[in-house]
Symmetry: D2
Subunit: 345 residues, 4 copies
């Protein structure tokens, strides 16, 4: 069985694991105050060209989304997100558990637009009974989205401008950020993201780390006392060095981008194979997740050799499935898959 079902099926990129081994006996202070975490922070600040940013390391995505969002909102405020955004559907109500509503906007592909945010904001304030409704207090996007799609520089700039105009901080979930940065047609750099967002995070778990997400708080207004929030929500790792060491390794040279690049190249090969064979794609993803719409009988054939996830029923005869690549995806596995795609009858 060759696995394409997700991007977290293996352990970590070997360089990361190796670094954990070589540093194992070092004695360091706990809770992220160690020198590896310091170095990792310095590397990331350089990569994002934002010296004033605060950088914190957390263990996973749901934890990160919850801590960031609940640290910013006041009790009567909610977070604006696409209706299929991860925080809206796949985190067991983690945001609501901190007291806040997720205010959802319709979306075809996981993205939301500046115009939608503006309309949502205006609708709230124009309502004479707005005090009876949750006030929009923050905008959440993911890049790439859950559907593999990405924001262009123009789109993110427009979102950022509307957010600033409305006084709404903009938070970008970058659980798979690297894949977005290297995507064909992508014109957004880390430095631009840091300029356009108030807070964002650089995913590790789905990008080759054992685990870990690097939260970047660019806007000083949201930096204060963040470590308290981390501790309160169970996010301050005793051996914080584990996160520092991993991000140090990812950003010391260009490992983060190399991992991203490899996975996306592999994904593009798979994408092309499906297109060549005449299959439609549910979302126009240029990142490491591909969503072909396949006839059900062909799925059965493919499933004998490959694992992938079932995304949604398309109609009686077709199903949307997801193929993921990662640092661990091997060229020969992809070649074999492509060959089998071509032979699907």
């Amino acid at each position: 069985m060759i696995r394409f079902e997700n991007d977290y099926a293996e352990g970590a990129h070997p360089q990361i694991l190796q670094r954990l081994v070589t540093t194992n006996e070092e004695q360091t202070p706990g809770y992220g105050m160690d020198k590896h975490s310091e170095t990792a922070r310095a590397y990331i600040k350089k990569a994002i060209a934002a010296e004033q940013a605060d950088i914190h390391f957390l263990v996973g995505g749901t934890q990160t989304n919850t801590i960031v969002i609940s640290s910013i909102l006041r009790p009567h405020q909610g977070v604006v997100a696409a209706h299929m955004g991860h925080i809206a559907v796949h985190e067991t109500g983690a945001i609501e558990a901190t007291g806040h509503k997720v205010l959802t906007l319709p979306s075809e592909n996981g993205k939301i637009t500046a115009a939608q945010v503006k309309a949502c904001y205006d609708a709230h304030w124009q309502d004479s009974t707005h005090e009876h409704m949750v006030q929009p207090g923050l905008v959440y996007i993911s890049h790439p989205t859950e559907n593999g799609t990405t924001y262009s520089k123009a789109e993110l700039t427009a979102l950022s401008e509307v957010c600033r105009e409305c006084g709404l901080p903009l938070f970008l979930d970058g659980a798979r950020l690297g894949y977005g940065l290297v995507a064909q047609e992508s014109d957004l750099s880390l430095a631009e993201i840091a300029k356009l967002c108030d807070v964002f995070y650089i995913g590790g778990t789905k990008m080759g780390a054992l685990f870990g997400e690097a939260v970047v708080i660019v806007n000083p207004a949201y930096q204060r006392d963040f470590r308290y929030m981390m501790k309160q929500r169970g996010g301050l790792l005793a051996k914080g060095r584990l996160l520092g060491i991993q991000f140090e390794t990812l950003f010391e040279e260009d490992l983060y981008m190399a991992i991203s690049h490899h996975a996306v190249v592999m994904a593009m090969l798979i994408r092309q194979a499906f297109i060549d064979k005449g299959f439609a794609l549910r979302y126009d993803s240029k990142t490491n997740q591909q969503f072909p719409i396949l006839p059900n009988d062909m799925l059965t054939a493919l499933a004998e050799k490959y694992s992938f996830s079932t995304w949604e029923t398309f109609d009686d005869n077709y199903t949307v499935v997801r193929f993921c690549t990662s640092w661990a995806t091997k060229k020969e596995q992809v070649d074999r898959l492509i060959e089998d795609i071509h032979q699907l009858a």
Copy 2:
């Protein structure tokens, strides 16, 4: 500098790290459904002699306490704990953040008694306005406590009986459980703890793992839907195998007990050295944490070669400090420390 300041200053026990390396390329399902987690669960069930228990792996102690406690209490209930219990003072109000008060009982050494719990319960229900007060809903203890002390079998049995009589589930925080199990005078086995408690956890982070705590839900009444709670509070690790692999290694043979034993033997040597030199100990700890009361000028001398934590001011001339041992503590480091203790003037 030789470090005795805590039991999480290094990475992991080499066997654990080695196992992470050898399993790294394996492809497994996420979120704790992998075979390593299954195996670890089987090992632990055997060790605790409780086949019906549910076992889940979480990343850290605050996360574990929060998820367990909030999954059990109804909104108007609070958790009873020693006033210096970890959840009462050192988790940034994590329990309150889930809506629940920590109802504290006075304690000299971190332990609470069956009589205290009974009195607290009776006082609540005898008050004619009890509906205006938080209802005791759960009892939290740690073993060993934050102060290194342990419950005897008789004490835990009494607590357990009172809890059952009052309908209060008993939750034991075992962040350092191994050290308690092997402590001199300790007469509590894992199987007995599993019989006497409703929920407890077997700590990994402070016991030689990179991170991780194994929650054991013995009482079926509290097993339902626990994985939802884990996900909602950010505790369902994508690469859940990392936890499974670590606990598999710890419980496959006797590594967990070996680590515990080594650390406690080292601690007892340090303890004896302080006693021999005529220093008092703040708490009568037979586990891996020792709390000598030292003259301030001697502290300065010791601090040149050794790191340890300042616990509390004892009086104008004396301070309580904490020396910790772990799997990583070397006999020769302890010998050197003992020598220096003997030469303190």
Copy 3:
């Protein structure tokens, strides 16, 4: 200006106010333990034919919804409701503030169906990653709905059956319950509602009381410790007698039904006038709220003499507005309105 904008524009029905005056000097215990509250509970139990029910009095609707819902759900559960349900949009996220998501179902007229609830429940449990999603834990409906529509006995029975089959308690918001009970075509009695629901409330604020809602907890599973919840959420009124006295007055004889009947008769006259004049109604309401779709220029004319609420924009030329009646609506005011409707050009 004659006001039809809502059903809470005046104080209380004179009989209620009178009773407050005559009982004013009585000395009673606080917090709902007084004899008026006891009597009111007895009257209501008789009216609903459910001796085993627990009855509590709260001040307002948002408070009631919040306390009931948060007292029933476990942390990972959400409440299923129509997407335009009061708890979903008009309570400033009160439910989320207690940690729970509102799981919304589409609705044309404020009602949800048994089939929708079943499908929602099945979709959750059939999803292999259901632990990553909020679990349906309770079903919330209003009767009449925000849109004036009502459930038939067959519809409520079907909902109730599905709820019981799925283990989902059914909670009916009866802020305007009386108007639903007397509505033409309505075949649901108080006793039937008590049989079909687990919890419901009999609204007072919008039914002629100064304020107050009577919560009826029919299912014993949800009765325990409810007064704690009331106190914790600020709902245990010190002078609880005020609620007791009002509901005692409403249910001593048939005042509650008389008020309901009067308001609905007035509303039906208004409804007929709009229909006669050829205007469409946005919702098919047989209760005290009427939602005609009126040309914008006619609105301006009407607004000179009458107040009513703007409900929603229908199209460029038409607007949906709401006319409400209550105990305080006078026949001659309605007659004048009807006359003016007939003369609209």
Copy 4:
């Protein structure tokens, strides 16, 4: 039975009830936007000499404390209060239910001092692991306290100065504020309280109203969006006029002070009778609550004719009880009680 057990045993002062009757037919907008509420706000602003203050009306004390405190604190912050403060013990964990810890300070008489607050603040920030502890974020006091004691102008000024120095807002719970204002030796006026506090409330429920508390937000930093918080926590009364009318009546002329004065004069007579008879008082209260320490056998005798509350067991033979007065306490009732006190053997 003559009742002295609390100050909320009757309905409302007749003038208030009368005003509710005369205004009953008026039609007003809901949710506190009516002209009576406007007028009441104007009267109060004049009484406190603070035109910039925001004034909101809520129904009860627990609701008010919860809404004010949760609207100010960030998630990792707690509220500092006396250990027997109402929010710490008698509100069923309402503050914790909003996610915040109550950080308690020891107190002999319900009051806390500027020095205590400073020490608490310093202790937090001097701790090297302060991020692991709840951060003090607000100071809560009551005046008079639960024990009938009051702050002097010097004491409140000192508290206010320390709070401002530490950046901690000061919130004064004035559930019985009037009784404090007129207390012998009291040198604090409403205007001074408004200058020294950031937020406070003027109690109605225990001061002759049917119900209601007037929240005064003096510091503009805490004024924003307060009505959202009210709505979310179930505190925005549909018929908000009821609160407006009551406070309008209380502050139109000098009814609030007259009620306060009458109750305190009655209480002072009772106090003197106990002192004359040689009984000690548990707290040195100059307000409407008196706490004599009485022999248990005399209690039984008194209890035949008078109701009062049992406060706490003093020792095997003595009990602390509470006698309360209010607007409804009649001079002849007090005379009869005094006579009976004098005849206690």
